[in-house]
Amino acid sequence: MTVASSSPPSRLPLSGAEAVAPSRKAKARPGGDGALAAVFIAPAMLGFLVFLLWPTLRGIYLSFTRFNLLTPAEWVGLDNYVRMVNDPIFWDSLKVTVEYVVINIGIQTVSALAIAVLLQRLTQSAVLRGIVLTPYLMSNVVAGLVWLWILDTQLGIGNEIISAVGLDRIPFLADETWAIPTIALINVWRHVGYTALLLFAGLQAIPNGMYEAAKVDGASEWRMFWRITMPLLRPVLAVVLIMTVIGSFQVFDTVAVTTAGGPANATNVLQYYIYGSAFGRFQFGYASAMSVALLVVLSAITVLQYRLTRAGQSDLG
C-alpha cells in the first residue's frame, strides 16, 4: 500500500504488466523473444543493409575507382583523393557550404529557441504551434521556387516593393555576395518552425516547479532562461543541433531550383558539386571520393558537437 501510494500514477499500469509478464513468458516460449524480435527487426534491418550500409560501402569502394556507371569500374587507387585535394573548386565548394551552414544554423537555432521559449512561457495555443509549423509542410523545391519568384531582381514582388519605397533593387539570388545568405534564410524560413517544435518538446520536460521556485526567489524571465531553461534544455538542444547541422551540410534542392550553383559558383555547395560531377560529368568515382570526404567531415563535426555539448548527459536531477 505504502509503495503504491508513493509511486506516480502513470507507473501503475506498467507495474501491473510487469507483474503479469513473467508467468506468460515462461509458459509460451522458454527460449525468449529473440526470434520474434528478429522478425520485427527484419524489414528495418533489410532497409538499413540495402539502402544504407551497402551503398556506403560501395561508395567507399567506388571512390578508389574511375567509374562512369555504364562500363566496369577501374581501380585507380588514391587518384580521386589526390585530385580532390588539388581541386580548387572542391575547396571553394566546401567553403561555400560552411558559410551556408554557419548562417543557416546560427540564425535558425537562435530564432527557433526564441519561438520555443515564447510558445512555452506565453501561450499553450495548439493553433499557434500549428501555424509555426506551416512552412515545414511545404516541400523544399516549392519553397525555393516561391522565394525565387518573390525575390527575382526584375520581376519579383519583393523587389517591386523595395523599388517602390525608393531603394535599389537587390539581386538576392543573382549576386555572389547575396546568394548564399539568401538561400540560407529561405531554409531558415522553412525549417525554423519544425526546429522550434523540437525544442518546445524539450522545454516541456523541464519541471514547472523550478520556474515557480525561481519566481518565488524573485528571478526575472531573463535570468530563468539562462539559469534554468538553457542548462536543462542542453541535451535536447545538442541533439537538435547535431541533426540540423548534418541536414544543413546536405543542402541541395533549394540550390538546385534557385541558383543551380551560380552565379559563378557562388552557391556551388558540396552536394551540388558532387551531383554535377556524378550525373552531369559521369565522374562517379570522383563524386564518391568527395562524398566520402563529406561523410568524414560530418562524422568529425558530430563527434565534436556531441563531446562539446555533453549531449548524452542531462542536468535534470
Binding site: 562512369n68 526584375q154 539581386p171 551560380g262 559563378a264
Partner: protein
C-alpha cells in the same frame, strides 16, 4: 505457428518489394511497341501526328511518346541508361552526343542510309562519331535571330529595314550598339544615347540578358564571335583544342558584356534560368530586343499586347552575319528492346513524309527541305514572318552558320566555362582569365 506465419508474411513482403524494385519497367517496351522520348511540349502534337502516319504504314507497330521537360529529360535518360529503362528512340542533342557516343549507349544507324544531300546543309554530317559510324538521323534545325518589340522600335524611330541591316564591330559597336542604346530608356525617360542618361536606373534595356552563355553563347555572344570569324575549336567536328584564349574571342566578349556596364544590355543580376530568361524580360516590357532561337518563335508570338518581330543577326567585322545552326536528331539506344521497330520509326522520322507532317504544325523547322517549306508555310499562315531565321540557311553568301562545338568532354567544358563567363559578365573579372580556363579545358581534351 503464429510466428512462422508472421515470418513467412514478412519474407513475402520483403521479397515482393525487392522484386518490385528490380523489375519495375516504365518503358512499356515490347516487340509491337516503340517507345520515344522528346522534351519540347510544343512539338508533342506534331510528333503524335507523325506517329499516326507511321502506325498506318506499319500495322502492328505502336509508338508510345513520352514528353519530359528539358532538365528532367536528361536526368531521366541517364537514369534510364543505368537502370535499363531507357526508351527505344530519343531526341538527341549535339551537346550530349559526344558523351553518349563515348559511353557507348547509342546504336549505329549506318544501315538507315541517311544521305547528307536529303537534309539542310551540315545537319546529317554532325551525327557521325569519331569511329565513323552514324548515331543520329536529322530531325530539325534552328538558328538565332534578334526578336524586337515593334512598338518600342517605332517609338524610337527605328524601322524594320534599319533593324534588319545593323552591323557591329568590337571597337565602337557600330549601328547595332547605336540601335540598342537608342532603345534603352531610363526611369526619367532619357534614352541611352541622350545626355543625362542614368545607366543605374534603367526602365527598359535595349537588349535582354540570357546569362553568361556557358561554353557556347548560343543566344548570347555567339552571333558576334561567329561574325568576327572566330570558331570554338581547331576543327569543325571533333576538335582537339578549344580557342577561348584567342584575342578575337576575348575582345568580342569584352565588348559584348561591356554593353551591360553602359546600361544597354540588362545586367547579369537580372537573369535567372528559372524565373527570368530573355523572353520573359521582353514579355514584361523590361527589354526591347533579345537574341533567341527559332524554337522560341511561337513563344514570342504569343506575348499578349506585344507586337514582336524578328530581324537577322547583325553583320560583323568579317562582312557576314553569323548564327549558330543547331540540329537535333533521333537516336536509338543500344539497349533498346525493339531495335527492329526502332529502326523503322527512326527511318520514318527522318523521312520527308513525317517531316512535312511535323512542319505543317508550324512549331519547328524540320531537317528536310520539304519539311522546312511546310513549316515556313505554316508560320506564314499564322501571320509570322520567319525569314530572319530561314535566310541564314538559304543565303550562304551573306551568312556564316556554325554548329555547337562537337568534342569529347563537353560536360567538363561546360562545367569550367559556365562560372568563368558568369564571373566576367557578373563581376567584371578580366576576360584574360579565359586563357587559364582554356588551358584547363585543353588539358582535359588531351587525356
Amino acid at each position: 505457428m503464429r510466428l512462422r506465419t508472421l515470418t513467412a508474411l514478412t519474407g513475402a513482403l520483403t521479397l515482393s518489394l525487392l522484386t518490385g524494385c528490380a523489375k519495375g519497367d516504365s518503358t512499356g517496351a515490347s516487340a509491337s511497341t516503340v517507345t520515344y522520348w522528346l522534351w519540347d511540349a510544343n512539338q508533342l502534337p506534331a510528333y503524335q501526328a507523325c506517329a499516326k502516319g507511321f502506325e498506318t504504314e506499319n500495322p502492328g507497330l505502336k509508338v508510345r511518346i513520352t514528353q519530359l521537360g528539358w532538365s528532367d529529360y536528361w536526368t531521366k535518360l541517364t537514369a534510364g541508361f543505368i537502370a535499363g529503362t531507357q526508351p527505344d528512340v530519343f531526341t538527341d542533342h549535339i551537346q550530349k552526343f559526344g558523351q553518349f557516343a563515348d559511353l557507348k549507349v547509342l546504336e549505329p544507324l549506318d544501315d538507315l542510309d541517311i544521305k547528307e544531300s536529303d537534309y539542310q546543309p551540315g545537319l546529317a554530317a554532325n551525327w557521325i562519331g569519331q569511329d565513323g559510324h552514324r548515331y543520329g538521323a536529322p530531325k530539325d534545325w534552328d538558328t538565332v535571330a534578334l526578336f524586337y518589340n515593334d512598338k518600342m522600335a517605332k517609338s524610337a524611330g527605328l524601322t524594320a529595314e534599319q533593324l534588319g541591316s545593323l552591323s557591329w564591330n568590337p571597337e565602337d559597336g557600330g549601328t547595332f550598339e547605336k540601335a540598342i542604346a537608342h532603345l534603352t530608356v531610363d526611369r526619367n525617360g532619357k534614352r541611352g544615347d541622350e545626355p543625362g542618361f542614368d545607366k543605374n536606373n534603367v526602365k527598359v534595356y535595349g537588349l535582354a540578358t540570357n546569362g553568361g552563355g556557358f561554353a557556347d553563347g548560343q543566344t548570347q555572344w555567339s552571333p558576334f564571335t561567329g561574325s568576327a570569324g572566330w570558331s570554338y575549336t581547331d576543327k569543325a567536328r571533333w576538335g582537339t583544342k578549344y580557342q577561348y584564349d584567342s584575342n578575337t574571342f576575348q575582345s568580342v566578349v569584352n565588348w559584348y558584356f561591356g554593353l551591360a556596364k553602359k546600361g544597354y544590355l540588362a545586367p547579369f543580376s537580372d537573369y535567372n534560368i528559372q524565373s527570368n530568361q530573355a523572353n520573359t524580360q521582353v514579355a514584361a516590357g523590361r527589354a526591347a530586343t533579345a537574341f533567341d532561337g527559332a524554337w522560341m518563335i511561337s513563344t514570342y508570338d504569343g506575348f499578349k499586347g506585344r507586337d514582336i518581330k524578328s530581324a537577322p543577326t547583325p553583320i560583323g567585322p568579317s562582312g557576314k552575319r553569323a548564327t549558330m545552326m543547331n540540329g537535333l536528331a533521333d537516336s536509338i539506344t543500344k539497349a533498346s528492346r525493339n531495335k527492329a521497330g526502332a529502326r523503322k520509326w527512326v527511318a520514318y522520322l527522318a523521312s520527308d513524309e513525317c517531316q512535312r507532317a511535323v512542319g505543317a504544325y508550324g512549331v519547328v523547322f524540320p531537317a528536310t527541305p520539304a519539311g522546312t517549306e511546310a513549316a515556313v508555310a505554316a508560320y506564314e499562315k499564322k501571320g509570322i514572318d520567319v525569314s530572319a531565321f530561314t535566310q541564314a540557311v538559304a543565303d550562304r553568301k551573306d551568312f556564316r552558320t556554325f554548329s555547337f562545338p562537337i568534342t569529347d568532354y563537353a560536360a567538363d567544358v561546360q562545367a569550367l566555362m559556365q562560372p568563368e563567363m558568369e564571373a566576367i559578365y557578373g563581376t567584371g573579372k578580366p576576360v584574360s582569365s579565359l586563357d587559364e580556363t582554356n588551358d584547363q579545358i585543353n588539358l582535359i581534351l588531351d587525356q
